[in-house]
Amino acid sequence: MVITQILFWILSVWVIFSALMLITSKNPIYSVLWLISTFFAISGHYIMLNAQFLAIVNIIVYAGAIMVLFLFVIMLMNMNTESEPQKHKWLKMAGTVAGGCLLLVIVAALRDLDIKKQPVLVNEGGIGLIKNLGKELFTTYVVPFEISSILFLSAMVGAVVIGKKE
């Protein structure tokens, strides 16, 4: 077994375990912490695929900024575990079965995929480096980049307007 394969399995188990803990833990703070753990594992996958820019952005933006926002909102609300509403047992089971059925159907549909055996370039290749991505972002994708800045401005104004006390 090559070292990249071992790393892939370790990271995959880490991702799935953290995601399962995220949806099963009762305390929302623990959920946020498990989600941060998931993001770190996904960043590990990006590093393994040599997408270093995305790995760093994932840690800084997701695990850093967005999750701090989540934690801040949860702590603002002072929720305790006892008062947390729980769905009925049968509803929970139905939701799990529905999600499992979706997984089953898509896996079955992809069984005869013709690109299934095609290898993914692991641990080499320069397209994920910041030089290549920056060149492409500021030439071909410069209009979407500017539009996304307008999106951010409108999101900021929207958040302030929604969160304002009247």
């Binding site: 990249t4 394969q5 892939f8 995959s12 799935i16 995220l22 949806i23 959920s31 993001f39 996904i42 990006y46 695929l49 040599n50 997408a51 995305l54 952005v57 994932n58 933006v61 997701y62 967005i66 989540f70 909102v73 603002l76 609300m77 929720m79 509403p85 729980q86 769905k87 509803l91 139905a94 939701g95 799990t96 999600g99 997984l103 898509i106 896996v107 992809l110 995929l113 690109i115 299934k116 055996k117 095609q118 290898p119 993914v120 692991v122 290749g125 397209i127 994920g128 290549n132 991505l133 492409e136 994708y141 996304s148 999106l151 951010f152 999101a155 929207g158 958040a159 929604i162 969160g163």
Partner: protein, 111 residues
């Protein structure tokens, strides 16, 4: 690594996100499950980008095929950040009005 493994991993993550949305009533946790689903898609996009890069490298070693996929991931992250700020503002607003983040309270909209 065959691309099959990445597809299965992303599918598993996406399904876990869906199960979370269906089984929880806390609006914040539902929101986090949506982030989880976005990240599953991001992982799959990067894997496909590297797959196409390897295929194109056989013809030309200096090719940049597959950059688009990684830039899409970047834009998904940008949109997710904007979405989170507005969504959390809505959740704070909801908490201020009904003193709960239970999504079942939102059904008063239909009366």
């Amino acid at each position: 690594m065959p691309v099959n493994y990445y597809i299965l991993l992303s599918l598993a993550l996406f399904s876990i996100g869906i199960v979370g949305v269906l089984t929880r009533r806390n609006a914040i946790i539902i929101f986090m499950c949506i982030e989880l689903m976005l990240n599953a898609v991001n992982l799959l996009l990067v894997a496909f980008s590297k797959m196409h890069h390897l295929k194109a490298m056989a013809a030309n070693a200096a090719t940049t095929t597959g950059t688009d996929g990684q830039l899409f991931v970047f834009f998904i992250m940008v949109v997710a950040a904007a979405e989170v700020s507005v969504g959390l503002a809505i959740i704070v607003m909801m908490y201020r009005n009904v003193h709960s983040v239970d999504v079942n309270f939102l059904n008063r909209l239909k009366n």
